[in-house]
């Protein structure tokens, strides 16, 4: 399998993209921002198609638009956690814009009818060039490093914003930076699994980790491990089964991991964590486990 260069590229890029997705995804689930991640993934689609329609490099549109919207969402939303209905209204329109760019693009580039759209929507990890791969790895490492650098205050401000604010953590600023990182990862993962499926790599590993452990740090690494594992086994599966697209296989494995974790969780007779609703009170883990002094 590794004799093929495209498989080596796919594994290399996929590993790091999945690592970044798993790390960011854990926080996405923890902060109840899955819907925001969903919206950003659709924004990524529109950005890429806008670039395609304008005839510039797809990646340019992908990153500029996704990062811009992520920052905007953070700045507009109260305490950098935007409201569901606002997100919904905005991204319904963004999707409409996507449809517009798609039609402009298909009209202007008849012949390659719709293939670019399909690549953006469903990913093209098996078609990465060595340059794409290096770029993907570099960006994924950047996102992962940024996130790990912020992980400690971000964990605290996600789990207990009140206490974090009391300790002088800039909760709002962190929220905005987090959304920008999420945008970066979304744009990045769009290339690997596609705009429509990256939600699987974001939400499923994080949710799996949340079901399996209460400890934040262990959960963070577990989430990354589940994401990378799904990527590896998904790629291998799609190599073995010729008709199975890579992105479907990756997301399928991640969803299975989540389903198994859910089954194990209910066997153990525990409810899904007293999960914090976006506005509601968050559960308080022992502060010591986060490495913070008790206030």
């Amino acid at each position: 399998m590794f004799a093929h260069e495209f498989m080596r590229n796919a594994y290399l890029a996929g590993t790091f993209v999945a690592l970044a997705c798993g790390l960011v995804g854990y926080f996405v689930v923890l902060r109840g921002q899955v819907f925001a991640g969903d919206a950003l993934s659709h924004v990524a689609f529109t950005g890429a198609l806008a670039a395609a329609a304008a005839g510039v490099d797809i990646r340019l549109g992908l990153f500029v638009v996704t990062l811009g919207v992520a920052a905007g969402m953070g700045l507009l939303g109260r305490s950098a956690r935007p409201d569901d209905v606002v997100i919904g209204s905005v991204f319904a329109w963004v999707l409409g814009l996507g449809a517009l760019f798609l039609s402009i693009f298909t009209v202007s580039a008849s012949g390659s009818n719709g293939t670019a759209a399909v690549r953006v929507l469903f990913g093209s990890i098996l078609g990465l060039s060595p340059t794409d791969t290096r770029l993907a790895v570099a960006l994924a490492l950047l996102a992962a490093a940024g996130l790990l650098g912020l992980a400690r205050p971000l964990l605290l401000s996600s789990l207990d914003p009140e206490v974090a604010r009391g300790l002088g953590v800039p909760v709002r600023g962190l929220g905005i930076v987090f959304l920008v990182l999420l945008g970066l990862v979304a744009a990045e993962a769009t290339q690997a699994v596609g705009a429509l499926l990256l939600l699987g790599l974001l939400a499923a590993p994080g949710a799996t980790a949340r079901l399996l452990t209460d400890r934040p740090w262990r959960g963070l690494w577990l989430s990354a491990a589940v994401a990378v594992g799904s990527m590896w086994s998904g790629l291998a599966l799609s190599y073995e089964v010729a008709s199975l697209p890579a992105s479907t296989a990756v997301v399928g494995v991640a969803a299975c991991a989540f389903a198994l974790a859910g089954a194990w969780d209910s066997v153990r007779g525990r409810r899904l964590r007293r999960s914090p609703s976006p506005a509601g009170p968050a559960p308080r883990p022992p502060l010591g486990s986060l490495g913070w002094p008790r206030p």
Binding site: A99, G114, A117, A203, P245
Partner: protein, 299 residues
């Protein structure tokens, strides 16, 4: 989409007459009307219940349904309704009793279901072997080629959904605004939630046939969000939501007929523009937004 005869003349009445001479356009207007009325009413409850994410997931699940039906050679409508009904069952199963809609655990589960559904849809499309133009139609919709038969099916389904919604409307409103009190008063909130998701699935499946899986959401969420900004009264809000949905659909279809750009773009842009206007208007008037009055009770 450009039509040979489409082009604006100085007299708008002539243009409109020209438009309704096309049978497909008449069908599209009828279908749009039915779909907008259903989506406006269901969407109002969806926004009230903060289930926008569930609604979006149900709407994208229509895509694998349609793709699977195409692959298996079954009628498209069967795929749409089957997938959305099944999706509603799955979503009801992953939402926890007593958990708030939109809670972190639930939304993660919904997101996973959604991504998995889309993955399946892509698999079906690949197995079907290309036909990318039909993929685009499935995702972004088409208002061409809607048959009279389809309009009739839509009408019956819409009537069934609206009647069922009217039947459970009162307890559903109670359960949506204050779940804990409703449960204490003996309202079967869990059953209601399930019934609502099923109705939402049906409405979404009906809408997806016309607007495509990705754009259903604009008819569901945006008119309802505008209506809830404008009034806190359930009756008025519902009526307003339906009225806005109807308006944007009619105007959107008309503009799309005369312009080269897709109907989905016009409908979403119009409804979003209206939403922005409403929000700006409400903010400048400095009124306490009705939405918060309702939300204050739920949280």
């Amino acid at each position: 989409m450009t039509l040979p005869l489409a082009g604006l003349s100085p007299n708008p009445v002539v243009d409109l007459e020209q438009m309704v001479e096309f049978p497909f356009m008449v069908n599209a207007l009828w279908a749009g009307t039915i779909v907008a009325a259903t989506a406006g009413a269901i969407g109002w409850f969806m926004v009230l219940r903060r289930q926008t994410f569930a609604g979006h997931t149900l709407s994208v699940i229509a895509f694998p349904g349609a793709a699977g039906a195409t692959l298996a050679g079954l009628p498209l409508a069967l795929g749409y309704f089957g997938a959305c009904g099944l999706g509603a069952l799955v979503l009801a199963a992953v939402s926890r009793p007593g958990g708030k809609p939109g809670g972190a655990g639930e939304s993660a589960a919904i997101g996973t279901v959604q991504a998995f559904g889309l993955g399946l849809g892509y698999l079906f499309v690949v197995l079907y072997g290309g036909q990318l133009s039909s993929l685009e139609a499935l995702l972004f919709g088409t208002f061409l080629g809607i048959t009279t038969g389809q309009v009739q099916t839509l009408l019956w389904i819409a009537l069934a959904v609206l009647l069922a919604l009217a039947a459970i409307g009162r307890p559903l409103l109670f359960a949506s605004v204050d779940g804990a009190v409703a449960r204490a008063a003996g309202v079967p909130t869990r059953l209601l939630e399930f019934a609502f998701l099923l109705l939402l699935g049906l409405a979404v499946a009906a809408t997806a046939e016309i607007t495509g899986a990705l754009l259903v959401f604009s008819l569901l969420v945006t008119p309802a969000a505008s209506a809830q900004r404008l009034t806190a009264r359930p009756g008025w809000g519902l009526a307003l939501s339906v009225a806005i949905a109807l308006l944007v659909t009619w105007v959107g279809l008309t503009i799309a007929f005369f312009s080269p750009y897709p109907v989905g773009f016009w409908v979403t842009s119009l409804s979003f523009g209206l939403y922005v206007l409403v929000r700006l208007g409400a903010d400048t008037l400095g009124r306490a937004t009705p939405r918060t009055a309702l939300a204050a009770e739920t949280t």
